[in-house]
Point group: D2
Chain length 342, copies 4
Amino acid sequence: MIVVMERNADAKDVKEVLDRIEEMGYETHSIEGISKTIIGIIGNIDREELINSLGAYPNIEKIVPIQEPYKLANRSFKNEPTVIKLGEDVTIGGKEITIMAGPCAVENEKQIIDTARAIKKAGAKILRGGAFKPRTSPYSFQGLQEKGLKLLKMAAEDSGLKIITEVMSSEHVELIGKYTDIFQIGARNMQNFYLLKKVGNAGKPVMLKRGLTATYKEFIMAAEYIMSEGNYNVILCERGIRTFEDYTRNTLDLISIPVLKKLTHLPVVIDPSHGTGRRDLVAPAATGAVAMGADGLIVEVHPHPVKALSDGQQSLHFAEFREMLRNLTKVARAVDRKIISY
Amino acid sequence: MIVVMERNADAKDVKEVLDRIEEMGYETHSIEGISKTIIGIIGNIDREELINSLGAYPNIEKIVPIQEPYKLANRSFKNEPTVIKLGEDVTIGGKEITIMAGPCAVENEKQIIDTARAIKKAGAKILRGGAFKPRTSPYSFQGLQEKGLKLLKMAAEDSGLKIITEVMSSEHVELIGKYTDIFQIGARNMQNFYLLKKVGNAGKPVMLKRGLTATYKEFIMAAEYIMSEGNYNVILCERGIRTFEDYTRNTLDLISIPVLKKLTHLPVVIDPSHGTGRRDLVAPAATGAVAMGADGLIVEVHPHPVKALSDGQQSLHFAEFREMLRNLTKVARAVDRKIISY
Amino acid sequence: MIVVMERNADAKDVKEVLDRIEEMGYETHSIEGISKTIIGIIGNIDREELINSLGAYPNIEKIVPIQEPYKLANRSFKNEPTVIKLGEDVTIGGKEITIMAGPCAVENEKQIIDTARAIKKAGAKILRGGAFKPRTSPYSFQGLQEKGLKLLKMAAEDSGLKIITEVMSSEHVELIGKYTDIFQIGARNMQNFYLLKKVGNAGKPVMLKRGLTATYKEFIMAAEYIMSEGNYNVILCERGIRTFEDYTRNTLDLISIPVLKKLTHLPVVIDPSHGTGRRDLVAPAATGAVAMGADGLIVEVHPHPVKALSDGQQSLHFAEFREMLRNLTKVARAVDRKIISY
Amino acid sequence: MIVVMERNADAKDVKEVLDRIEEMGYETHSIEGISKTIIGIIGNIDREELINSLGAYPNIEKIVPIQEPYKLANRSFKNEPTVIKLGEDVTIGGKEITIMAGPCAVENEKQIIDTARAIKKAGAKILRGGAFKPRTSPYSFQGLQEKGLKLLKMAAEDSGLKIITEVMSSEHVELIGKYTDIFQIGARNMQNFYLLKKVGNAGKPVMLKRGLTATYKEFIMAAEYIMSEGNYNVILCERGIRTFEDYTRNTLDLISIPVLKKLTHLPVVIDPSHGTGRRDLVAPAATGAVAMGADGLIVEVHPHPVKALSDGQQSLHFAEFREMLRNLTKVARAVDRKIISY
């Protein structure tokens, strides 16, 4: 960590800071520049402790962290990419790009069974579908809850798919864990630290969605929360950030793929449906994601988008989904990855 | 609600949409413009249901909501400003601007007792202090938890102050409710809907902090979640939004004060400490807030900021806090409000 | 255009607005909803005139434009994509994806000649290089100016390349027009309206870079300025927008490609160098751009990035550039486009 | 400046960088930490030269500048605040807060004469009014140009006011300089470097508006461009930044006032009209600005906002303006400043 002293700090001010750092047990090196003094701090540093202590000195201009705050997610902790295995033939993070698809919300038996069969037939491996739904309005449909989980399970078994579904509250981790293969943490809960810890102990893979306004560092730190409880099977999911542009629902940050794969060893999945919010942009977004190295896609598909109880405007019809996968297969091959489509 | 059809939608496309809307039970009016047709929808509309249904029609360009999605928080529901009473002499939302102050985290008995006495002596009415702390890193100090709540209670009783403290998880609502006078919901949990519902049932006032990237509408909708459970004593707290500027920790959005007070009847509190993240900017920010109509301030104060376990860089010394209040008293008077300082 | 009246507007308020609109020569239709009245305005509307006039009525809540404000750039004005021809074998907007490359700034004869030969050999068609440089600091290298233009011309002729170079001021349009094949308007000048009009009259294609914080609509309106002077050969260039994320120099908005190509008929070029600001991200960004339908790429290449006078951190070595093009050729083929590489 | 080497950089990599820095004439100090090496660079550093040279080394993780890039605008260059004098009794930057007001655009003789008289009578000292208008659409009213300047001059002389008006192109500096007392550079031209240099040589004060997405540093660097040409009479004007919030036209960043006044010695003016875009928010924004230390306000006033050719929705009526000034007088007094109102 580096401490930059204010221009008008004198020798006494510098000494006071040096003393405080040494009192905390670190080694220091100071460099006197032409107008300002900087102090380098050496040791296995507790970042927040240091920032809190030093931040309050009036003559410190800024504190520059040098080491990344995340440890377990860091490439320097584990260099080979993490490959998550679900049963015999489903992996996330390997050469094959994993396709997850399904409706925004589980609505009824026919809807979820039909969708599961259609996506399986097109090439998907994992069924998505919300049973507990985070809704901006308290007056909107909040999901079928446990009944939805049961339908999801039935549809997945019928088609031979794995399940991913969202958990919104630490109180539901146990219940949802009975049905799902992967826990999904939504963007709004990315920093719901109690929930992160709870799924960190639940013994199943977790897909963590990036908060609307989370930096890469904050996103990785949220994964670190889960990993620090002993669960290393974390999948990072980019689903659009909030910017000034309002033509799309969010701005899908595709460059996050190579960045996150450089900084961490975790698999990266893209959600082109929430990332764009418009059906006509789902396929272009998915194509870019595959070309740029995504390890998976999670896509909203619905038998009749115009009758969907949620997210109809960004859900693909079965035929659109199937055609998209076929085109993606060619792009995956061009970048030496693999997508199965029929 | 208004539906704008795409330029190339023909009469058949328009009819299909009109039929769907009428099937849902609403009255329609369509207007044929030079290049596009628009449809007005009349009735007590379920926004999300309509948006979901119509959003998926390929020939609809956009859907423009006309009514605000919030009902209970709306000025049109209740025109007089909400005044929250805590015991006999503490109110939030009246002529007097309510001062809340205290350390970021409760650290030990002496720290919290000293701080409570100092802020009381300066003019504050409510003691803040975190017992459960949301921390970006799992490796940082997470708060004293129940022990912290007990210390907070002891300090508040000793000084004759009310308490505000953060609840981070629905599992802690009951416990924290035993100690606090006001629940605080942090910015990261603004859309933790289960938590919102839980505090909506807890029978005590709730101060809801605006999420880093929440629009006014989303912020008010989160308050609506709490109110829809029957708890109307909600306080809105602006604490800085995230922008491209990185000189300050956040960008404090002071214009939110007149906006939120126009759109809702709820009291608005400003947090100049998190809003700026820099001790030298706390007083200017608080001054602006008072001038612009804030109903309260929540300020970080610590006996020794350089030794604080968290947020030292934005905490005021006792003397700074006292001087700030004295200056604010004059500004409050200039805008026909009242701040008590000694 | 639609006018939404405030909830508390009465019949007299509505009539006043209706009268004003009719006085301006438009036809009106009003719809009385349950809580608010909306007014539809029909005719070939002068948006800004209407917004200015009506915006000041105190009982109007909001004004919702229905027609796009751009005409000449609109797909509804011209449906086939614009293909720009430069001499016999260089086109922008056709099946072949056009590669533009070169140093940030022209520094000396050897640098530009070597670069031109290297990029030509790799497959590029157009040489980029700044002679007039927009620099954040007045104390930085500002470019070789006319001498730079001459070197650029010499290098382009030596290698058989076309030229693109930036014009920063309306005073230089004539001079730069003597040397360049395409004018580049930088992001900082996207709304320098005098400059836009000037290049709109200069008789050569113009590549317009998106401002750091320009919405799609504002970006297209800036193109409309150029086109409204009679120059229809405009290329749109996305080069990153400003967000809260600071790991990359900017956030490259790749979804802009399908959006801009849907809304307009103009070719879209991506700048992965400025868009990311990091050499290791240039190839992934370019790969995504090609997969998502970009009509061209503009890439910074330098013989010795570590000795570059500007943008060294985002410039590719010759070998990196060549390898990138080879890989892009495969991706282009997978999406039925063409990139020439050797 | 500090250079942070990548974790995997070895002694040879570090040496290569050290050699390059020393070759450029600077002194170095390196500190080996537990996982990374950092290098301190000492001397009067040419930031951009260094960043460009070093940025391209593959083993450098990041470069952290220590000195501010601006010199002449810096408080460390000149500590006393700059006070700009216009004739005998108008100053900007002194104890009195300077009020500038007038219509968005000069429309005709009666409009500008009436407005000048009304604002003078209320307490304003400087008349604003656009003769050359930057408009997002090429089809909108572009201003009366020289005729507008003449009317502005006539109105100012009639009422005894000074003039501020916008210059949009370097080609107009001479013409506008014949009429105006202060040049205004609009937000869209904040980084139009040729224009900045031109007004830097024009011998009259310049008010520079902050770009919609300019950081404080970039804003100050733009002022530095003007100052580096010898013109030290620069006024900084905050007029709202672009964020995700769309209820207001922009997000007015009031905390910029204490920040800019700490970092520079230049006067800071707030534009509450563009900063909010809504008439009902102009007075609250102005009140906050005065309380927080603004040296001036620039406000849109129009005899009949509902008939204005531009910005009617954010223009005050004469009576509203007068009442606002009266209220501001009390707030100014509370923070030991002065506003004249009648």
